[in-house]
Symmetry: D2
Subunit: 317 residues, 4 copies
């Protein structure tokens, strides 16, 4: 599958650029069609984009007209919009990516519904012998505290055994897949006279670490929401690396929007009603070791509160 | 509101084009930023676009891989996709428009939910004295047969009276609006010492024929769905003219997709299960005057069936 | 329009209740089909609902399985979900409302795209002479500080004049509408021999304060998002009263979800990255009059920061 | 995972029914909470529903008011709505299902974006040793004509070998999974002192035929769209059986809507612009063996045209 498609994208790279009156972002032009490698066989590749920081401002000025006059410059207006959750102007930018990713990552990704997707179909086409294996330093045990995440790393020699076991099974299931498909790649059987099992059946033997790929198109508002969830430390490492690579593009694409996002969404913290009350009391000189236990915050919330404000643990009596 | 915004768009028109590696469509480049007049004060203006016919094909080839080999050229593949309702590749193109339209048209338009919108806000800004009045030849009576549409034209001298009544009221409500707002346009009161009523309140006095405007961004699949409903003869004339103007752009933008849409969506007809059965019988030599009354099609369905196949009315006995 | 429909709803009220194994919420059963009056002619009426607090928990336990074991009770789990923005379980509840509301309110409301809507069509049907007029105490001037909102009340005698002007115009435009429609209510013309203007045309003469109505169906997650925006003090008063009435229903419907929403969404505050840094410094004994001016927060953000923590204005030197 | 959840659902079954004023559908009440077995380990289980045929009519009568007067009964109105693609009233019904299904089926299913989903998370919980194996009669070769489907059955003894290969690999990958997880089910390690690999990592070794489960909630309009695509003979058998089981519920739930759907969506056929022209010519006595080759229909379209009208192959000369 890859060869024809890569030739096509290479042709786009080799082609003479054309002229346009649409907004262009020079640093994104540099990135067009070039795959950014992710994990062992994956990539993210910029295919197209629409709009820039100015396009956000342009739409906002239509919406808020007189309301935007007081904000003198684009950066200020974009920060105002982000701060006050005026989200629709951010929908006026759009990006299209070509992504190659393990199926278990694709299964998390696809839960973001407000996007357009064309995925490689294993009913039509034959999947390659390409599967994800974690690097040694990413082989970790189940977290004891976080019910969904990873804890400490597995010692190196044991991590090697884990990877080896994963590799062995991935090879085994592909051998079977290849045998059942019985296709030399040109539609002709490898073993003459033997059946060529329907691809939609044979593919069910492959593991969730096999790579798939898709075109994914999304507007900036929904992309930022995706990034806020998938760049989060609680997200699985294997999707976080994709989010980080896309974040790099967004920084180049819409630097003001990115800055506002970093300050007002990702970098900040939400404080619950009770937490705000405690904050006010602390600022009036209250003692956290008294205020927190007296509140109706749960134990875990009290720990989180201290952590996000770097208050330190309660003093022993 | 318009002046600053129009200057901005004019600046885009005057600016030197830049170079890009993204797909460009020369005939759309010509259309960028230039308003296409609609009705008496409205317009549709192309602001940006992403993708072209080739982008549809590019995404489809990722999805259907081997399945697309047999279709040799782009046009054939696009027609295949449209015919078989493989809709996702059409979502890979995106268009952004600036539209000025009467509020009653905007209310129909906004029902298409899968789109991005930034509308002019009459809470922030002052609306202009701009309202829609139908042209003489579009003043018609309520249809007797179609419960939602227009019938015959109103005789000219009476149509003039209709338009005059609409104009008079539109002027009256704006006079009141202007009086209540009491704003010289620079925030200063016209009548010193008098209150400046909140804009969000004053605007409620304006009629549904007042013009609003918005930025509207949508993918090609959803745009074609919009067009199929809004270009339809049953759609209200005042939205149909917008749909027609956008259709003109789409023809330039993605000619193969447009051709397929014209043949497989707009130009064709759906035949119900019973209708297909009758068709088969007719092709075997059956008599419509016997088959239709014997079917469980309603009277209106039988009329429609004859009409779409140009069969003519039942013979009198 | 109202009579037939109200008879139908009354019939539902009069009918014998049936039995069901689905979750039922007794206090919502009491509310079914009974209109809650809003503004001068509007209402919100509960038509149907699906799920309850337990349904949120039920779905979450499928999703997070082992992850939910540590949370012993339903209330705790729901609060955990809300706090960590695990939003999908809240989508498992659904509510259907019948709402009568001024058109300018409907235009704000419809911007919430993830909902199902069936609105009264003025192409098919004749609108009643029903329009919204603000009560004396809600007639206010344009706010000087908030670019989209209301400021002080207009003095009573002037407010009376405002209302009178709005009423006069509303009556005028309806007189014209009625004249143009020329329909005695049974399809027969009032003025014999005169045209009956198409309804889709005549309605354009009516003002944005005329009432429309719709069925609106939405899931709990999207409803809470709607409420968080529309109960906000920055929302226009005329939509806030609808949001408040719906909030009353939600409190009865899913009390745990409502409590979590009140604490973790509506009652709390987001602090930006810079604000969190300042908070830490303040808790270490820093002086707001030094820290805030030294930060890169804008003037307005510094004011907001002091306000949400009740810090008081900077000390004069 | 299943035990606790099944106990909970059993408790709902055992509980005394309550009374409600909401529309109830007796035949659906019978189905509530009872799993309908699908494939070898899957099921579809009705969890909740909102609305019925009357609810569609109720919403339509608000929308189309006077336009619905001429249609006397509910069945007629529902058929009218379906025929004319007035889709929004069908969105007023909602259904919630609990589904257990192979991951490769889930991956097709999730592409229907307008639905609410809570899926079992293999990051939090341990997957069971449950995988799908096709029955003998469903083991087929890749279709030669349909690029994505199945052709003839594989001879029985070879089909047995296929199933055996799939079973062997499924057992192998689960053995490894179990070994890596190293969890006795209560969080304690099976092999003391050995690492318990993070679940989010270990699960990647499992195959696409492993079962997952989810809660899925969708409105009737989107459900019918799902069914029209997934009941289609071109859909993969393994998702078709789920669609068929859900269709059975829909027939009970909204019989008029189902009937209309069967006649106007599933049972009928779309004829392209060119096909309608040919139809007209045929009805005027034209010869298909002349008309079809002279048209610009592709070879495949001509074959399909003959097939859907049972015209038979071209006559040899």
């Amino acid at each position: 599958m890859n060869d024809a498609h890569q030739q096509e994208l290479q042709a786009l790279l080799d082609a003479e650029p054309t002229t346009t009156r649409r907004p262009t972002v020079p640093s994104l032009e540099e990135r067009l069609f070039r795959p950014v490698p992710i994990l062992d066989h994956g990539f993210v590749r910029l295919i197209d984009y629409m709009g820039d920081d100015a396009a956000i401002v342009q739409a906002a000025r239509v919406s808020y007209g007189a309301g935007t006059k007081s904000v003198r410059n684009d950066r200020g207006l974009i920060r105002y919009l982000m701060r006050h959750r005026h989200t629709t102007p951010f929908e006026m930018c759009e990006i299209k990516l070509h992504v190659k990713l393990p199926i278990f990552v694709a299964r998390q990704w696809i839960r973001h519904r407000t996007a357009n997707v064309n995925e490689y179909s294993a009913r039509y086409s034959i999947l390659d012998r390409e599967f994800y294996l974690p690097a040694l330093e990413h082989v970790s045990v189940q977290s004891a505290t976080n019910r969904q995440g990873r804890g400490e790393n597995v010692p190196e020699h044991k991590a090697k055994a884990v990877i080896e076991a994963l590799r062995r099974d991935a090879m085994t299931v592909y051998d079977t897949y290849e045998h059942l498909i019985n296709d030399a790649g040109d539609g002709e059987p490898i073993r003459e006279g033997e059946p060529q099992l329907a691809r939609e059946l044979a593919r069910m033997n492959l593991g969730l670490n096999y790579y798939t790929q898709w075109y994914w198109k999304v507007d900036l508002h929904n992309l930022l929401h995706f990034l806020s969830l998938r760049m989060d430390p609680h997200a699985q490492f294997e999707i976080r690396v994709y989010a980080d690579a896309i974040a790099d593009m967004v920084k180049d694409w819409v630097p003001h929007a990115w800055g506002a996002f970093a300050d007002y969404r990702v970098g900040g913290s939400f404080f619950a009603r009770q937490e705000v009350e405690i904050l006010k009391a602390l600022l009036r000189g209250g003692d956290p070791d008294e205020l927190l236990p007296a509140s109706d915050l749960s134990f875990r919330e009290r720990v989180e509160f201290r952590k996000k404000l770097e208050i330190g643990p309660p003093k022993k009596k």
